[in-house]
Subunit: 316 residues, 2 copies
Amino acid sequence: MGEKRVIGIDLGGTNIKVAAVDESGKIVVKEERPTEAPRGAAFVLDRIADMARTVAQRAGWSWNDVTGIGAGIPGFLDFEKGMIEESPNLGWKKISVVEELNRRLQVPVVVENDANVAALGEAWIGAGRGHRHILAITIGTGIGGGLIIDGMIYHGANGMGGEIGHIVIDPQGDRCNCGNRGCLETITSATAIVRHAKRRLEAGEESSLQEVAALTARDVFDHARQGDAVACSVVGHMTETLGYALSLAANILNPELIVIGGGVSKAGDILFKPLYDSFSKYALARVCDAVAFRPAELGNDAGVLGAARLSMLASS
Amino acid sequence: MGEKRVIGIDLGGTNIKVAAVDESGKIVVKEERPTEAPRGAAFVLDRIADMARTVAQRAGWSWNDVTGIGAGIPGFLDFEKGMIEESPNLGWKKISVVEELNRRLQVPVVVENDANVAALGEAWIGAGRGHRHILAITIGTGIGGGLIIDGMIYHGANGMGGEIGHIVIDPQGDRCNCGNRGCLETITSATAIVRHAKRRLEAGEESSLQEVAALTARDVFDHARQGDAVACSVVGHMTETLGYALSLAANILNPELIVIGGGVSKAGDILFKPLYDSFSKYALARVCDAVAFRPAELGNDAGVLGAARLSMLASS
């Protein structure tokens, strides 16, 4: 078999990213368009197919040279059937993505949960290069989790492997989208950081955050760096809780590496230092000795790169 | 290669069990002798070697027919070097078990953590038959944990994979042997059940347990079954906590099966029913859907059988 030329697809609730990726992990061409999920699955699948053909063409690849397509999708998948069981973000249920894309593109298609795909991307050519056992989390609207074991995505029994965002930390806590209360993501996601800060501000606490118009998690970290007490307290609670949750996962998984992704992961020491302090307080000493923490390196490209890698592994 | 005839060794802090095991998982001959760990590592290793030759002889096997030896050892191991880093139960540090047994027995030797070995035994011919992803815990003096992924023992980065006993549940809780406070095993081990019951009795609570001379975890379950309020409360706290802890592990691992071993696992419905109720309250619905709970089946033989299997896998 000649060099692999694959198309990596990162299907999100807001945008679709599609890239032509070569075997070395180089993105030759990338496109991004809005998902417009409310227009229905057929519309979205047509758009993806069109984007795939477009990036291949712009990369100067004949369609016959494309060896495969990988796609990361937000939601619960049936891997054997190549089917989305349910994607709350897209409003999809029981969509045979592999079959639908296959029909449109006549190329082997592999699908995977988006958090797993991002983890695979980081393991391949990002923060996880050279490591076998990796726990990757993404701090965003929720807390995504992907698990790499022996260099491969770990699915578990039915595709839920690595779903650390929904471990319950505080049974009396805020209601989570999953139906439970106090899941990790209700405390440590970017959304939760903003919600917690707003609550403190609404309670009338004095803070430089009062002046920020449309508050983001990044603002909270920025103001904490400048010493604002409310921002420091919100960040403190977030890092203490996330460090604790990662200690639970690490005592069980004994990973070599924990990769933290999402916008918040760019906050640097103000995130990573207290996070590791909390982690090391709760994790077994030998587990601490074995693990490194690293920010994700691939940013918004983790999805398309991981999806491309998925296709390469499937055809190797 | 002909039929495998292996020796499985289960080295415990109190007793050594050694068995001649055939390829079907049948124990042909088994021996048990006290460990007498205070007499030193050389004494214990000599005793193991002697027991291995004895069971082979009693099984009617010529020593040349023995294809390998597997050993389960309580403690932290360096698998690549075949070395015990540290075994608090045995009082051993830096003992090259593989080399030492090899020299005494001239047969290939594989060593493994005892909880992992028990998990492998159950996966092979016990409660876990036919399952790929298994979390096995043993409720005893502590809470041992072993993880089977894709049918193989999962070690993690440095042999700590599956150490669920030391996830911190209550940072203000009782001091654990590991140095932390409120580890799962300080709340849900057999030792902890007895400690909690005794505390309630010492505080003067009325209970049928007051009449029991040398209280065991089994007594607590027996009296709970008869409706004793203190026993019910202790069992309730234990099952609520263990169910919660298993939900954390299961959301991350998405196992097909959770095997519960140790003496307490024979308690039946009074353990398993509230345990599953607690688990399903906290775990994701899809994770619950995929997992079954089962008591371990191999009892005291899990160790020698798992150790035998370990040797078979190593030579296959």
